[in-house]
Every structure is written in structure tokens, then in C-alpha cells.
Symmetry: C2
Subunit: 334 residues, 2 copies
């Protein structure tokens, strides 16, 4: 394992400290328990809090700021944050409108956010993201996993919260975006968890893992490596089949947000090549790709791989996707 680290135990603190230093106009870091908030705390809105294991950067701390999260709770690498982190974050950012947790569907995250919720004195709700259509149930999950689609949920819910919308309305929008979003990932290499010091799984020079999870969890199957177009076609087919199985249509000319997400070690050149094929396949299927995002938005440490996410848009989702956002990792309109 070669990584830019000092002591394995210090990675998280040192990385978070660098993040907070680099973005000290936008975020504040609190240690023991670890959480990050906006530098300028928002008033009179639902507080949007997310969190999860580290190693998926910029998720979640990179999405703290106007139009998105109020706070994020980073666990250790690939480990759930603990309830004391969520309670401290909630205490720091809640106003008078309640707290919405956005939680990726992993057993540890779900349990710990639930425990925090039970201890909270203020009103709260939870949006559980489960956009990964690769597998039902997985190493750390009962049901579908939450992956890169979480970024779209956080963006839209964060936008709605800025308008002063109620906790119920924010939860409803989050649930709706999640219900209209499907993702699938593919790995060419494993990731390496620093504390483990070696790749999470072995994979041959001529293999790929179709449907891989963002912690290196097994996907649908080990397959032969092949041309990008063939890989992407299988991924888009899986997403379209998922939409169909959920009775989401999609109907002709349905508008779609297409997110091609790098898992950590895949060059932009390849992500754009994937985007090119994915967009054409969606158009061939009668859809209208009107929003895009390409880059490293939900990673698996240093995995070479990518995921494709499609979100079926409606006017409300478009409005909240397009609205101004000012965070370390997503910024437009301000």
C-alpha cells in the first residue's frame, strides 16, 4: 500500500483538518466528536444533516454549504459515524424547523442515525437513500444500497430547505428524488482501506466487478473485461430495467439527469467517454438527457471504476437541482 498518509490512526483528523483549512470560508470542523458545519450557520430552516463512513469524499462534508447540507458527520474509513457525532451536529445547527437526516442505506449508518434520532429532543425525520439497483441486500445492507444518487437527494432537499419549507416537505422531496433515481457501479480494481493495508478484493487483469458497492462489496457478478461501450450498455440496461420494474416508465421524452461518477482512480477522460456512450443509450431509449454531472462525487477511496446514475426529473426536481449551491464540491449560481 502506497498512500499519502502518516499514521493510519491520524488519517481522518489530518484530512479533515486540511479540508477545513482549505475551505475555511465555508465550513467549520469540530473534533471529538467529529462533525462539520457551515461556517455561517443558517437560521429558520430545516437543518439537513448527513454522514457516513469516510473514504467517499467529497461525500458528505464536501456538500456542506448554502443550498445543500448544514452539517456532516464523518465516520472512520468505511465505518459508520456514531450517535454522539449526530447529536453534536444536530445541537450545533438545528433552528426551530426540525432536522432531516439523509442516510445512505447501510446497516451501521441506519442504526446509528436511528439511535441519534431517538435521543433527539427536536423534531426530525430521515430520508434513506437506496439508489443502487445492482443488488438487493449486500454485505452491509438489507435492501438496496445508497450510492451516488445521494448527491442528487442532498442537492434537491438542501435547495428546498433554503426556501423555509417544512420538515415533512423536505422529507417528501428527498424520498421522491430517491424513488426516481437508479445507479449502478463497476470496478476495474479494488480499493485499499488504509487500516487493512491491502486491497479489499482480488480481481484479475481481465476482469471487472459489475454492480460493485462503494466499499468494494460484491456486485452482481465477476465478468470479463471488455470495451467500454459494452460495459456501459449493461449498466444503462440495468438502470432502465430498474425504472421499469418500479413502474417509473420512463415515458418518451422523460427528462433525465445523468451523473457519471468516478470511484476515485478513474481519469476524467474515461468518465467523459462513459458519459458519451451512456447519454446516447438513454437518448436511444427515448429519454431526454437535460442535466449532467461528471466527476468524482461519491468515491470508494482509490478504486478504479465508475458508477452511472440516472434521475428521472420533474419540474420540482429540476428547480431544486438548478438552484444556487455553494459548497466545496458543488457550486453554481453564486
Amino acid at each position: 500500500m502506497k498512500k499519502f498518509i502518516n499514521k493510519v490512526d491520524d488519517i481522518l483528523t489530518e484530512s479533515l483538518s486540511g479540508f477545513a483549512l482549505a475551505h475555511n470560508d465555508l465550513v467549520s470542523l469540530h473534533l471529538d466528536p467529529n462533525f462539520l458545519t457551515r461556517k455561517q450557520l443558517a437560521q429558520n430552516k430545516v437543518a439537513i444533516i448527513s454522514g457516513g463512513g469516510s473514504g467517499h469524499e467529497p461525500l458528505h462534508a464536501g456538500y456542506i454549504g448554502y443550498g445543500m447540507l448544514d452539517a456532516a458527520c464523518p465516520g472512520h474509513v468505511f465505518s459508520s459515524p456514531t450517535p454522539d457525532q449526530m447529536l453534536a451536529a444536530a445541537e450545533a445547527v438545528h433552528t426551530n424547523k426540525g432536522i432531516l437526516f439523509i442516510v445512505k442505506n447501510y446497516a451501521g449508518d441506519v442504526m446509528n442515525f436511528e439511535m441519534a434520532g431517538e435521543m433527539l429532543a427536536v423534531g426530525h425525520a430521515t430520508v434513506l437513500t437506496s439508489d443502487d439497483c445492482a443488488v438487493i441486500n449486500s454485505t452491509y445492507t438489507t435492501g438496496r444500497r445508497g450510492v451516488a444518487g445521494t448527491v442528487i437527494v442532498e442537492k434537491c432537499v438542501g435547495s428546498l430547505a433554503e426556501t423555509g419549507a417544512s420538515l415533512q416537505a423536505c422529507k417528501a422531496l428527498g424520498d421522491k428524488v430517491n424513488s426516481r433515481t437508479a445507479s449502478i457501479g463497476v470496478a476495474l480494481t479494488s480499493c485499499t482501506v488504509p487500516a487493512a493495508g491491502r486491497p479489499t478484493f482480488d480481481i484479475g487483469d481481465n476482469e471487472l466487478e459489475m454492480g460493485v458497492g462503494i466499499h468494494g462489496e460484491p456486485g452482481r457478478r465477476r465478468e470479463a473485461m471488455r470495451e467500454a461501450d459494452a460495459i456501459v450498455k449493461d449498466m444503462i440496461d440495468a438502470i432502465l430495467a430498474d425504472f421499469t420494474s418500479r413502474n417509473l416508465g420512463p415515458t418518451k421524452n422523460s427528462e433525465v439527469l445523468l451523473l457519471v461518477n468516478g470511484l476515485g482512480a478513474t481519469p476524467l477522460m474515461e468518465l467523459y467517454l462513459i458519459y458519451n456512450t451512456a447519454a446516447k443509450l438513454l437518448v436511444d431509449a427515448g429519454l431526454n438527457v437535460t442535466r449532467s454531472l461528471v466527476g468524482n462525487y461519491t468515491t470508494a477511496i482509490d478504486m478504479a471504476g465508475a458508477s452511472i446514475t440516472a434521475c428521472l426529473l420533474d419540474d420540482e426536481i429540476k428547480q431544486h437541482w438548478d438552484s444556487p449551491v455553494h459548497t466545496p464540491a458543488l457550486r453554481w449560481g453564486c
Copy 2:
């Protein structure tokens, strides 16, 4: 070699097509010869054109847009673009105020941009970037290499050009930014050029290449892998020594822009850890880090590695760094 590609010969066209599709609100792609321009061509300003071999994405096409480039000419992977590309780009975007080429100092790029300049009917000038303080002369370079500091040059010159400034003023600012910028890179792995199909160089599990170039060119020396703090200290020492050798001071409280740039396969978590150490070392040296950028901005395909760039700010550079920019890869203030 495992990459998301189809035929090696088609990588560039397919990736550029995906890039243009994903950012069709901002850029237009022209093929044969290959160049990209802003979707909405600017009027009555110096046209800022850059280009170079592909494989460094988002450099340069990712910096096309308001406040930065008017056009970019992508060569094949790690190969210089040709004069016909630059001439076609110039023809497409020039107005009445002349053309400024921003060229990284590599022999092929310099020669081809010079040839294009000789054939141009309109007034032009060139800013040659040479921020890499690792080595004097290198595989493809006489003199210092142009690396990630080029992004700062493009941002500042692009900003000044939007004000209607003259060609001479734009060139002067570009030269000044370059003269106040120093970078150094380090590789933990090689990159793999798709057409070659195997890593450009061999490197052991306990080695790093200090001072590596963005094409995998040799750096200062092969060194033993060690803790991040020790690696970063050597890099910051090299940058400070370079400033001193160029009589740039820096004086106490000099303001600095600190760019920690990933070379393609290094996770954000590690880049922020590097930033944390680098910022502290600069502060220890009496400097004041007031601007930051952390992420993949000038890459070497899929190299695991990072570079550190410091730019000594003055009021003019700060003004043009902070000004609004709207490109696929850098966006703020609009």
C-alpha cells in the same frame, strides 16, 4: 491495462464528444481539426487560447468559458496539438483585440504554437508557463516544465481579458503569474498511456519519484517511500528554495495561493491531508495562505501522485483569481 475505452484510436474523439455533450451549455466541439470553443463566443476582447496533449484533464478544455479560455486545442494523449488546430481555433474565436496563446513549456507544444503564430494574420503573443521547479530541462523540455501552475495563469489572464485589457497587458499578467509560481510533483505509481498499454515507468512498492513530470518524465530522483509529512516537507522546501533563488523573497506575511493537485488516481482524502501539512509548513515559513484549490486540476492520466503549487499573490493576482469564472472545471461567482 484496464481502462474504460473502446478502440485506442477513438479515445480522444469519444471522450471529447462526451465532454461537449455534458457541457453543451458552455462549450462547442469542432472535429478535424480538433478544437473546442465557448458556446457563446466572446466579443471585443483578447482571445485566450491554450492547448496541449490530452491526458491532463480537466486541463485545458475544462477551463473554457467566461473568465478563462476562449478555446482549447487538445492533442492526442501526451502529444502536442498541431498548428492547424490552433489556426482553426484562432479563426473561430478572435475578435479585434488579438490572440494570446498560453502554452506549457514542452518542445512540441512550443514549436507548434510558434508555427501557428507565424501563420496567423492577427496580432498575437504567447505566455509560456514554466512553474515546475523540480528540474531544469527534461525529457520533452528545454528549461522548466509547465504544470499545474498553468491553471492559475489561465484563470488570471482570462479574468483580465474579460475587462477588455490589451494583448500586452494580458501577456504581462500571464508572465507575472508564471514568474511568481512554483510547483513540484511526486508520483507513487506510473501512468499508463493507452496506446502504449503498459506503465510508462516501473516503480517499486517502496519507492516514489520526487519531481515527476505530468507525462511521467523523470523527476529529481527515485526516493524511498515515507510518511506524507516528510514527502510534503521536501516539496515545500523545494518551492521555497525556488522562490528564494528567483529573488522572490518571499517576505514575511506574503500571501500565497496553495494548490494541491491530484495527478489522477489519488483520493481527495489524501490530497486534503497533503494540503494540511503543506499549509502549515508555509505558515511556519512566515507566509499567509489566503487562497486554496484542492482536487484534480492538471492530471497525468491515471497516475497516483500529487503536485503542490504555490503562487505568491499581489493585489492584481488576487483580484483576477477571485473574479467570477464559469467553466466546466472551475466555477465561482456566477
